[in-house]
C-alpha cells in the first residue's frame, strides 16, 4: 500500500510538475532556487527522512509503543459516558479549512471518535465551519457507521455546516452545546479567539471537554477550561495513538528521533555560543 501510494504520488507530482516547470520558464520571476533557505530545505529532508525511517522500522516488524496520553485515554471514557447518560457527543473539527495541518489531524481523530460512537451507539454531532471540511466530515462519519454495521443509525443531519463567519459559527456551536446538553465535547483542530467561548459554554452545559490544538496562543484557554488537552504535537500523535496502527505509530518514533537531533543541535549551539564560537548561528542565518 505504502509503495503503491508513494509511487502514485510521485507520478501525480511529475504530471503536475512537468507542465508547470515548462510554464515556469516563462515566468517573470527569475530565481529558480530561493537564496539562504538551503538549511531549511536540508532540515525538512532530514526530519522527513527520520519520520520515514520510523515508519519503515515499524514495517520491519519492530514493536512500537506510544506513551500514554491522558486525553486519549479519556476519549473512550467520554464516549462511554455519553451512552450511559443518553446524551450526544459533539465534535468540533476546528475553525480552519482543509489546507491546515491541524484540521487534517482533527479529522483523523474524528474518524476514530466516529468509529467508537458507532460501535457503542452514541449519537455524534459535528458542526462545521468550512464547506469542504463539512463534506469530508460527513463522509467520515457515515463510513465509520457503515464499517461498524450500523449504517441505519447514521443521521446525516447531525453533520452540518453552520457558517463561514468565525463568530456566527461560534454562536451556532454555542447554541448546539446549550440545546443538546452533550455528555462529551471534542474540540480538535485549529482554533482562534472562540476557544475560550467553546470551553466555557461546554462547562456550562456540564460536558466533559477534551480539547486539542496546535495553536500555542489558544492552549492556555483550553488548559484552563477543559478536562483534558492535547498540547501542540500531541494533536498530530493522538490519531496514531488511538488507532494503534503500527506504521502510523512508527512515524511517532521517527519524530522522537528528529527531536533528539534537534535537541543535540540546540545543546551544541549553546555550548558553542558559550565558547564564543557562533558558527551554527551564522550558518543558520542568525
Amino acid at each position: 500500500m505504502i509503495r503503491r501510494t508513494s509511487l502514485g504520488g510521485l507520478i501525480a507530482a511529475l504530471l503536475v510538475l512537468l507542465p508547470l516547470a515548462v510554464q515556469a520558464q516563462e515566468a517573470s520571476v527569475t530565481t529558480w532556487i530561493v537564496e539562504g533557505e538551503a538549511w531549511v530545505f536540508i532540515g525538512i529532508l532530514v526530519m522527513g527522512g527520520l519520520a520515514a525511517v520510523g515508519i519503515f522500522y515499524a514495517k520491519a516488524g519492530h514493536t512500537i509503543s506510544a506513551r500514554a496520553m491522558p486525553a486519549v485515554e479519556a476519549a473512550e471514557d467520554g464516549i462511554g459516558r455519553a451512552v450511559e447518560m443518553g446524551r450526544p457527543v459533539v465534535f468540533v473539527p476546528g475553525v480552519q479549512g482543509i489546507t491546515k495541518a491541524g484540521t487534517i489531524a482533527g479529522l483523523s481523530i474524528l474518524r476514530l471518535v466516529a468509529e467508537k460512537c458507532a460501535e457503542v451507539g452514541a449519537r455524534l454531532i459535528v458542526p462545521c465551519r468550512d464547506t469542504i471540511v463539512t463534506s469530508i466530515a460527513r463522509e467520515t462519519v457515515e463510513d465509520a457507521y457503515k464499517q461498524a454495521g450500523r449504517h441505519e443509525e447514521y443521521r446525516s443531519e447531525d453533520v452540518f455546516f453552520i457558517s463561514r463567519r468565525q463568530l456566527a459559527y461560534t454562536a451556532g456551536v454555542n447554541g448546539v452545546l446549550e440545546r443538546e446538553h452533550p455528555a462529551t465535547v471534542f474540540l480538535q483542530g485549529e482554533f482562534s479567539a472562540e476557544s475560550l467561548i467553546f470551553g466555557e459554554t461546554g462547562n456550562r452545559a456540564g460536558a466533559m471537554l477534551i480539547a486539542g490544538t496546535d495553536k500555542e496562543t489558544q492552549l492556555p484557554f483550553f488548559i484552563t477550561t477543559c478536562d483534558h488537552t492535547l498540547i501542540g504535537e500531541e494533536l498530530y500523535a493522538a490519531g496514531a495513538a488511538i488507532s494503534k496502527d503500527v506504521l502510523t505509530l512508527g512515524s511517532l518514533r521517527g519524530v522522537d528521533l528528529a527531536r533528539l537531533v534537534v535537541g543535540a543541535i540546540i545543546v551544541l549551539g549553546i555550548v558553542l555560543e558559550i565558547a564564543r564560537l557562533g558558527w551554527i548561528r551564522t550558518m543558520l542565518g542568525g
Binding site: E157, F161, I197, F221
Partner: protein, 205 residues
C-alpha cells in the same frame, strides 16, 4: 479506487508544495492555478453545505422541535439575505441593501458574541485560580505579576521588569518548545500523507 486517487494526488501535492516553497519561479507559476482550483472546490462544496443546513432546519420545524423558532429565524435570515443580494441589489456584490444587513444586523451580532469573551475570561480565571494545586498557584502568581506590572507598577525582575521577564523568558521558552514540536508533528504528518498512511482528509477508511 475512491481512496487511492485522492491519496496519490495528496502525495503529489506534498512534493509539489515543498519544491515550490524553495523555488520562487515555480511558486509564481503554480500559486494562481492551485488557488483558483481550491476556490472552485470551495464553491462546489458550498452547495451541499447550504442544502444540509436548510434540510436540518426544515426537519426541525417539521418535527415541531421545542427550539424550532430559532430554525425559523435562521432560514428567514438566509433567504432574506439571498433575496437582498440577488433580487434587490441585482447580483451586485456589496450592494446597498446587502451592506445594510451586514452593517446594522450582522456586525453588531458578531460584536455581541465577541463581547462574551470578557465575561468568559473572568469565569475561566475564577475556575483556574480556585483549583488548589501547585500549577494553579503558579498560574495565579504569574498572572498577578503580569497584571500589576502592566496596570499599576512594574516589579523588579531578574533582567528588567518582572512581567517582561516572565513573558520573554519562561513563557517564550515554553512557546518555542511547543512550536518546535508542532513543526516536527507537521513534517511527520506530511510524510504519512506522502506514504498514504494519513487518511483523515479522504473521508473513507
Amino acid at each position: 479506487m475512491r481512496t487511492r486517487i485522492p491519496l496519490a494526488l495528496a502525495a503529489g501535492m506534498v512534493v509539489l508544495m515543498v519544491l515550490a516553497f524553495f523555488s520562487p519561479k515555480l511558486k509564481a507559476t503554480y500559486e494562481s492555478p492551485i488557488n483558483n482550483g481550491l476556490f472552485i472546490f470551495m464553491a462546489f462544496a458550498v452547495v451541499p453545505a447550504i442544502v444540509s443546513l436548510i434540510r436540518l432546519h426544515v426537519a426541525r420545524i417539521r418535527r415541531k422541535h421545542p427550539d424550532s423558532i430559532y430554525s425559523g429565524i435562521a432560514l428567514s435570515a438566509l433567504f432574506a439575505t439571498l433575496f437582498c443580494g440577488l433580487i434587490i441589489d441585482k447580483h451586485a456584490f456589496n450592494g446597498p441593501s446587502f451592506r445594510w444587513i451586514v452593517t446594522f444586523i450582522f456586525e453588531p451580532l458578531q460584536q455581541a458574541v465577541f463581547a462574551f469573551l470578557a465575561f468568559f475570561i473572568v469565569s475561566a480565571a475564577y475556575r483556574a485560580f480556585r483549583a488548589r494545586t501547585l500549577e494553579a498557584t503558579l498560574l495565579l502568581f504569574a498572572a498577578v505579576i503580569v497584571m500589576i506590572g502592566n496596570a499599576i507598577l512594574p516589579l523588579p525582575g531578574p533582567s528588567g521588569p518582572a512581567e517582561l521577564w516572565l513573558l520573554t523568558v519562561p513563557s517564550m521558552a515554553v512557546q518555542r518548545g511547543i512550536i518546535l514540536g508542532v513543526a516536527l508533528g507537521i513534517i511527520a504528518q506530511s510524510v504519512r500523507i506522502l506514504l498514504g498512511l494519513e487518511r483523515g482528509f479522504v473521508g473513507r477508511g
